[in-house]
């Protein structure tokens, strides 16, 4: 049967991979091409690049990174960050991305998702949903923008369902209250979204241990799990993550 996927995420700015806690306090984690090759060798099922470049002057740097990675790494590549127009999607796909992540622009202009999916196919469009619990018992979640600082008033589950209807081929769901904390995914949120949408869900945000990855699949019902810091700073290899998942009875590609 289909394997659950492990996806290392590379946050890239000014041509370097960085990692911070809740999007602040960035630490340099190295050269994106070198890191991509290493994860590929370790058996990563896909790679996700998030362009967090603030300045538009440096926007094209990510294109060069993707081109270089696509030349040597033969697994699926997803790129997100700063995608606002259909032309942005096209540029990233032309650089070698297989899928493009759309986040804030999907909220301000949902038709962008429909247009991009119509033009390039749903398989190429991932909608990133950044969500946080908005009640104490963690049963209601709202979509946030700007690194989790700005509420949108959108219910996260309803929003994910709507985006799948608009043509998203996959949902990248980030637990914003967990991102960078290494406390594990928001499992109730992950499960609610995964059970509501017909398309695959990638769980993201908060992975600190290999057990968190297992929990994301078994408890959160995610189709794939995404993590950054546990891989970047040498805590674990992708191979170790897969061995842990398999030991827990999760089907993985070894």
């Amino acid at each position: 049967m289909l394997a659950k996927r492990i996806i290392p995420c590379l946050d890239v700015t000014a041509g370097r991979v960085v990692k911070g806690v809740n999007f602040v306090g960035l630490r340099d984690a190295g050269d994106p091409i070198e890191i991509a090759r290493r994860y590929n060798e370790q058996g990563a099922d896909e790679l996700t690049f998030l362009d967090i470049t603030a300045s538009s002057d440096d926007r094209d740097l990510i294109l060069h990174v993707i081109e270089a990675v696509a030349d040597q790494v033969f697994i699926p590549l997803t790129v997100g960050g700063g995608v606002r127009r259909v032309a942005d999607v096209r540029r990233l796909l032309n650089a070698g991305a297989d899928k493009v992540g759309i986040n804030t622009a999907a909220i301000t202009d949902p038709d962008l998702v429909r247009d991009a999916a119509g033009r390039f196919g749903s398989q190429a469009i991932v909608v990133a949903v950044d969500a946080k619990a908005v009640n104490a018992d963690n049963t209601r979640w709202e979509v946030f923008t700007h690194g989790g600082r700005r509420p949108t008033g959108l219910d996260a589950v309803e929003w994910a369902v709507k985006m799948a209807e608009y043509g998203a081929g996959e949902i990248l769901l980030t637990s914003m209250d967990r991102d960078g904390t290494r406390q594990g995914f928001n499992l109730a949120l992950t499960r609610a979204v995964s059970e509501a949408v017909p398309v695959p869900v990638i769980a993201s945000g908060g992975v600190g241990t290999l057990q968190h990855l297992v929990d994301g699949v078994k408890e959160g019902k995610a189709d794939a799990v995404l993590a950054a810091s546990i891989f970047h700073f040498g805590d674990h290899t992708v191979g170790e993550a897969k061995a842990a998942m398999r030991a827990a009875g999760v089907e993985v590609r070894l």
């Binding site: 049967m1 289909l2 032309n94 749903s122 017909p198």
Partner: protein, 213 residues
């Protein structure tokens, strides 16, 4: 040796080109082309495709490539990938689209409401790494384990009219044909160019293949 990768404007073929070049030990001339004459003159042909089948069929015709594709399938080693493989059938449910009609059968959507053995819902598109079982021997399976995983991303699947076309199967949750072919034609639903070592090995085998089985 000339290896043509057919480019009819459906998506970026950079990865397909690079993956063929990565295993091109024999120094073949590997190139992207949308010129029907170049396709016909090539020694081997790779026929990729992504996106929706109606768009692919329309663009193939707009580029005047349908006849060239059919001509190459008569004799040259031919490798169809994803929608490039689906186009070889008679018809697709996707947009009720007629295909090239080389293979008897249809391309059909995965049924809604699929569940696995544990009762868990299966998502569509079928996206990710799944096992490929070799249902009959083929030169392109050299060095590839039976049950090896390849990368899939699709909502529609092959439904060949006869089992004689099936070379490989996957499971989601039922067995379905994911490699079809006959004689000099070999076509996969999965993406060899995104399937890491196993995909590269299959493409390497294709470059070494003389088209006989």
């Amino acid at each position: 040796m000339k290896v043509a990768i057919i480019d009819y404007g459906m998506g970026n073929l950079h990865s397909v080109l690079k993956s063929v070049q990565a295993v091109n030990d024999a120094g073949a001339e590997v190139f992207l082309t949308s010129d029907p004459d170049e396709v016909v003159r090539a020694d081997k042909v790779v026929f990729p495709g992504q996106g929706a089948m109606p768009d692919c069929m329309r663009e193939l015709n707009a580029h005047g490539l349908a006849e060239a594709v059919l001509e190459t399938t008569r004799s040259k080693p031919f490798f169809g990938i994803c929608v490039g493989a689906q186009l070889l059938f008679e018809h697709s449910e996707e947009g009720d689209t007629p295909g090239l009609g080389l293979f008897a059968g249809d391309v059909v959507r995965f049924a809604p409401g699929l569940t696995d053995a544990a009762g868990e819902r299966l998502k569509v598109p079928h996206m990710g790494w799944n096992r490929v079982f070799q249902t009959r021997p083929h030169p392109l399976f050299a060095g590839i384990e039976d049950g090896e995983r390849f990368y899939f991303v699709h909502s529609y699947r092959f439904a060949p009219a006869t089992g004689a076309l099936t070379l490989g199967e996957s499971e989601y949750p039922d067995r379905f044909a994911c490699i079809v072919g006959r004689d000099n034609i070999f076509a996969t639903q999965f993406h060899t160019e995104k399937s890491h070592r196993a995909g590269l090995q299959m493409m390497k085998n294709f470059l070494a293949w003389d088209g006989s089985v």
